[in-house]
Amino acid sequence: MSILDAYLPVVLFLLVALVVTAAMLAAAALIHPSRQNIVKSQAYECGIETTTDARDRYSVRYYLVAMLFVVFDVETVFLFPWAVILDELLLFGLIEMGIFLGILVIGYAYAWRTGALDWA
């Protein structure tokens, strides 16, 4: 089986899932009533008219979490192929990944020390 044969079902599944989802939305759109009015289409804020805009600048912490995530994400990406062939690399693999992770653990420790991992 070639690689494309294995991936064709994935593409088909994507299309099927999209069609099913769209069909659900479309079916509901045909059936459900639509009686919009001004009050109904206000954004919810506990019954009070909103005075300030919701789309505002947010705490930088969210950004920091995303940044740290990207770093760790890339790190785990390196781990996956390594884990697969660890039985070939053996001690060599252990040491090279030890160095790789060791360097990252320094960064992790730095993040811990500076409080970047504390939300509050």
């Binding site: 494309l4 593409v11 950004y63 940044m67 770093v71 960064g107 730095y110 970047a116």
Partner: protein, 168 residues
């Protein structure tokens, strides 16, 4: 045959996505189109038998870096008036310059690709799968770049913390 059809469909999707990224009015819409483009590129990798690269493309770019973009787009409120644009023409000039540089780079890559001997990608594709080929290349042949990558990640992490902590 099937590969060719897939290639052209995906290439069309990627180009459309790319155009939508730069023409979308809202920055958030741009980010959404960027995700679509990245996924289409990932599919193109699969067609090129680089399935590992494809999932990594989705996992790291679509699932990580673009989330970061989205946060940035949300973080810096784009509705605020731009503060520091003194010369609008300067921005245009910079844009033209960068665009030109990019085109030159494309030309160079294309020129190089046409004039160099074929690199055997298929040869490295082993029977037990793509991941192992990548793994072997990464952890045996390119050991030093791999270890250097961890330093790069360390710098990224420290840099992010320093930047974010500056005012907080």
């Amino acid at each position: 045959m099937g590969t060719a059809i897939a290639f052209y469909i995906l290439a069309a999707l990627i180009l459309t996505g790319g155009v939508l990224v730069i023409t979308a009015k809202s920055a958030v819409h741009s980010v959404v189109w960027l995700v679509g483009t990245i996924i289409a590129i990932a599919a193109l990798y699969v067609v090129q038998h680089a399935e590992f690269l494809a999932v990594i493309q989705v996992l790291v770019y679509a699932g990580g870096i673009v989330v970061l973009y989205l946060f940035v787009v949300m973080l810096v409120n784009l509705k605020r008036p731009a503060e520091a644009i003194v010369h609008p023409q300067r921005r245009e000039r910079t844009g033209l310059l960068l665009g030109g540089a990019l085109l030159a780079q494309f030309a160079a890559v294309a020129f190089y690709a046409f004039n160099s001997p074929q690199v055997g990608t298929a040869a490295t594709y082993s029977a037990r799968g793509n991941v192992e080929a990548v793994a072997r290349a990464l952890y045996v042949e390119y050991l030093v770049p791999f270890e250097v990558a961890s330093v790069l990640l360390l710098v990224a992490m420290v840099g992010a913390i320093v930047l974010a902590r500056r005012d907080a």
